[in-house]
Symmetry: D2
Subunit: 402 residues, 4 copies
């Protein structure tokens, strides 16, 4: 059965030629990203539990996490948590299978804590957070989905989107956060927290990067050290950006600071490195899309990719798949300057048979759709044929979801 | 001080000329929409409380609501709730002002329940839901923002987006849900619940509408009545659609149903009309954008518009504003076929002075930017000048946020 | 098989001859009593649900309720709730029986609210409280207990105690609260709340009654009305007391009041009539014993009687039974001046075969144990023989548990 | 001002001469005892926090803890936690003092976890439990109590009771649990959990000890090891008992076991050593009285001693004080065979001036009240004079409360 694949020429300004471009990334310590990360970690852990105990993945969706901010009292050189961060896990899973009880809650909570532990360095997970679990029990018929032959059936009418390649601003925004949250960087700059928001604006050939970055109070002994840290950050980001562009770069860091303040009140200080400790709630699916960015100038899906089951939840699978396909096309098909991709499911139909998989292509000069289209179609068709590779990748924790 | 307003010609295929277009709306009874609605209602109620008691709106953001699904046992002609829906309100507000205690939690819970009561007809709010409140206390310096002279300062570096006019599919998707959830319709068709998801796909000149619609079990005595209801729905939607388009229309309703089933298991039955009663969680900002739709073929913002304070939260204000401006431009400026709008803030700067307000215009044949641009700029500038009108509108509950 | 019944002469001063006697009753609106009442109401409702749906009572214990106080702002003539009272139901029950799902949580929450509604007149249950349910699922083997032939097996090694008759102070304390919380009284004195604590102290022939009584702010327009209400209360209690004793009576009401205060701060005002609205938490089993009193000069059991299942939970059954037996003995056996009774179970043994049922008797002058003992033994034996009458009585809501 | 001290001869059978005596102790790992222990630990930690930060103890009462049982799957030689134990801290404290924020929640949760960690050896606190904190904020006027000169004012009309010396059964019950939960014993018998309930029954000269003891599954490889452990326990307890009595001793351990079972179902196995992991909830004040025992043949107070503030909460102070006084009298006053003590407060009066402190004395043969009474009075008066020593002792964690 042939698939509903459409490849058309995209009549649209190439992303780099737009006058204005906006790109954002919420760093791994932003409350929304933490929520995404927990959701995905919990799903991964449940997949592993089901595989280990039953040899196959049972139904679950853990794509709802609510972080309720705590309270803290950061001071230069120290500070303390006043009230822990509250983390509520919801969603559903199967907790009993043919009379065999599964430690669903236990595994979920454990996975959430482990993610927090490895993600926010200065968070003492067991003392600074409270993780509650209200994950419910999945119904029997949904479970059945996983037992059928062939590709699983779509759990929903939904769609995924992707595009490639990244623009300069997208690359810079992505790489900036990646660098600032890398282990190596943190070693040299322990005062820089994980809650980093990078906002990139390109106006013609001028790129402005506005960075909001929580600092870690115990590593910054005073106002001077804070300001020095902020200045260093600025320089490092500026140096990074020029590797990816010839355009003009301007960097702002913590623009809400009030440098006239002599005490903590004027600066973005935290005890743990994330604003979740003191007022900023978070939840799943409100931040980065599956490619790691928020890009209003690009097609986006509203589906939260993190935490959904990787077997039949098209809201997850199609988003990851769309990005994979788009990247492959951009990389492998000569003449493709830009590709936008949308894949739409219909509930109950096999996931390898989407209602529509639609690619829009901007060609390099001198290329024609007649030659490019078949190659693109083939890549799409091939990925759909092997769609369970996406599942595999997710189960192994190798797919980006936020 | 002049504003950073940019108007450029949009080199992009007009929405109606795209080969593929996808549009989605989550109805007012969808768990994500309920979350949005609660978030916004709570904010409105707090605004009113602050106005009544203090004469001005204090800081708050209630844009986080976590719905944890309940359990139910719907049967043809009846059924019951097994476990209530859990609704957690988070966010923050000011609960004490100059020694005067304010009933923050009480008002918030009340507002949430009132919204539920008026939105989901067959939900017995006090018995079918449990509303908890973990809204925290805002810090003092944020409060200060509201006391300053002139336009308030942006609370964040963020952006809003809008576009106009609606495409045919957008109009149809929007109007379909509006009709099905109208009072008049519900009176005639009590078996149709509020949890209605409308997915529109246009492939060239063919529009497919896929509707997922929770039914209310007590009004459908048996399988035959259910199927009859489903069929009627299909006809009504098809009839509605042709009012807005000459394109071919195909309508699917509850495609996951299994018509071979003789009992409830094969059909989309609920006791209350929302799937939140039995397995579907919900949270704020994961569904419709501020214009009521999810549109991957259009620019979108990730910001949750619902529940944010309407005084200085640009993530809310700029989204509503962008839609207002886009609509005005589309309506009032001759020659504008389509407008996309993005407005970007910088934290700490006055909200009437965005970092960039950027409009992309597709012109009707025969028009030129030279004549159109000044009119567009003027509309944008005028709205920014009167940006607190947005605040006013929100406080009065007159702004759409989801 | 004969039962382990022991009747002995009690070598102890008759209660009325003690120099000092202390008796306390926490009224029905005291947070601990509310907890007891909710626990028992939930158990009753579950019994009813199991009977209605399955024809027999399944395992459950709902003898844990945690009331976390709210916040309020009572003012003369009005006031408001700031933060609702949080009520957590815990314990366990069976929620699924042979594939049939039972609305355990729904019924439990409903029962709790209904109890609150009928008990605390001025509490707007749905707005002033939040009832959560964390009742867990009972294990299978405990369920089996209920299916066996003959008397059920004791669920625990535990004991119940009782005594009779009430002393004068006990009667007065009990009747005082009963009167003040009677419908008739409330009609005439709407300003008197349900949270009434009566402490009786007898020193020789002087009885001091100290009453702590929450008032309902909206019915007391000012300080004068409050004080008038307090004075009336004092007179009414004094008048009541003299009906039951010839001893000297002194009554204190709200001794913590500061009559120099001109505003609310000096008086015991509440919005709803219970201190649970503003700082006093409550839990099950910390207040009145099964006979309605706290009596340090009498034998007492620590077992919470409220909320336990009435089928095999000896901690409940033996407490109620001991009071029934003691009352019957005191009423029906000539020559018995006072009886103390203790019944001890051993886990796993039939509940009609206690490890020991031990009565201590103080005789009236001129009577002998030889004649009295057989009558007492017979009453005890007869009650044990018909021990399921206690179960019946509890299921019908006719047994006092607090 | 002289105190209201009453010493009278107690006309009552000496405890050892009663025909029947019942004594119970819930071991430190029983869910009710864990609740008591947490409540007291939290109060101690708050006292310390207030002392460290402010130099004095502020108002708080943390005498409400609700343990909602988890779920587990113990198997011989192993097993796992399915769902963690839920622990809710409630009560109230002062979290802000003259603008200075205090880490109330953080300290409370930490103290609860530390107590759990040191009390239940095989509990992995951070993985097997979830500790939530809903401790509220105390009102200002109560805080004032602590600032006044002289002895603090009673916070309530309440009473405490005590007696001495322990009877043989009381001593045996107490020492049995103490031994079985001692470090040395646990080292030799790792399979014995902390959730140990000892019930002592004396019928004339026969003492029956019924012990319910959770075992730790990972240390008992099979049914045989379990039964061997149970048998050893029995022997050890029997050996211990004879040190304290010449009466006949019979010991039962885990009488609900079904030795015909070949798998775990027939035995009292747990993963962690406490039944809180799998079905038994717990709360404060429902178990042992302040002297560590439940004694229906002795006077008891219903007040939860654990978790109340040690400054002015007479429900705590008078219970501890009564036991101290009773012990001193029994030890130091020649001729005192038994003493029962009750101390009653009146709200608002200084705690060193009780409404009544009433001692009942059973004399040794050949002694007279005339000589004994003044000594008893003096001891009582002296303790009341130095009542803040009790506070001191509690703050230092040296007072038994359960």
């Amino acid at each position: 059965m042939s698939r509903n694949i459409f490849v058309e020429k995209l009549n649209q300004t190439f992303i780099e030629d737009l006058d204005i471009e906006i790109v954002e990334r919420k760093g791994i310590g932003h409350p929304d990203s933490i929520s995404d990360g927990i959701a995905e970690s919990v799903s991964e852990a449940l997949c592993k539990m089901y595989m280990d105990e039953l040899g196959g993945v049972l139904h679950h969706n853990t794509d709802e996490v609510q972080i309720t901010a705590g309270e803290s009292n950061p001071v230069f050189g120290g500070g303390q948590i006043i009230k822990p961060i509250d983390i509520l896990l919801t969603g559903r899973g199967v907790s009993e299978y043919e009379g065999h009880k599964l430690p669903l809650d236990y595994v979920a909570i454990d996975a959430a804590k482990e993610f927090l532990d490895k993600t926010v360095i200065n968070l003492d997970v067991n003392r600074d957070t409270i993780v509650e679990c209200k994950i419910g029990h999945g119904s029997g018929d949904l479970v059945d989905v996983f037992k059928r032959e062939g590709a699983p059936s779509s759990n929903d009418t939904s769609f995924g989107v992707g595009y490639a390649p990244f623009s300069e601003v997208e690359t810079i925004v992505f790489e900036t956060e990646t660098l600032l949250n890398s282990k190596a960087f943190k070693k040299d700059h322990p005062g820089v927290g994980e809650d980093i928001k990078v906002m990139g604006l390109r106006e013609g050939d001028k790129i402005t990067l506005t960075i909001g970055c929580a600092t870690v109070s115990k590593y910054l002994a005073n106002r001077e050290e804070y300001i020095a840290c902020r200045d260093v950050l600025k320089d490092i980001v500026a140096d990074l950006a020029v590797k990816y562009t010839d355009r003009e770069i301007e960097v702002f860091v913590n623009t809400a600071d009030n440098d006239n303040a002599t005490d903590e009140s004027g600066y973005y200080l935290t005890v743990t490195g994330t604003s979740a400790e003191m007022g900023d709630d978070g939840s799943v699916g409100r931040g980065n899309r599956a490619n790691g960015l928020i890009t209003p100038c690009r097609p986006m899906s509203m589906e939260a990719t993190s935490g959904k089951n990787p077997i039949n939840h098209v809201g997850k699978i199609y988003n990851i798949l769309s990005n994979e396909i788009a990247n492959d096309v951009a990389k492998d098909v000569e003449g493709v300057k830009q590709i936008n991709l949308m894949i739409l499911s219909q509930i109950g139909k096999p996931i390898d048979q989407p209602k529509a998989a639609s690619a829009g292509i901007i060609l390099e000069d001198g290329y024609e759709m007649g030659k490019v289209s078949p190659q693109v179609e083939k890549i799409i068709d091939n990925w759909l044929e092997n769609i369970t590779d996406i599942t595999e990748k997710v189960v192994q924790g190798k797919a980006r979801t936020f």
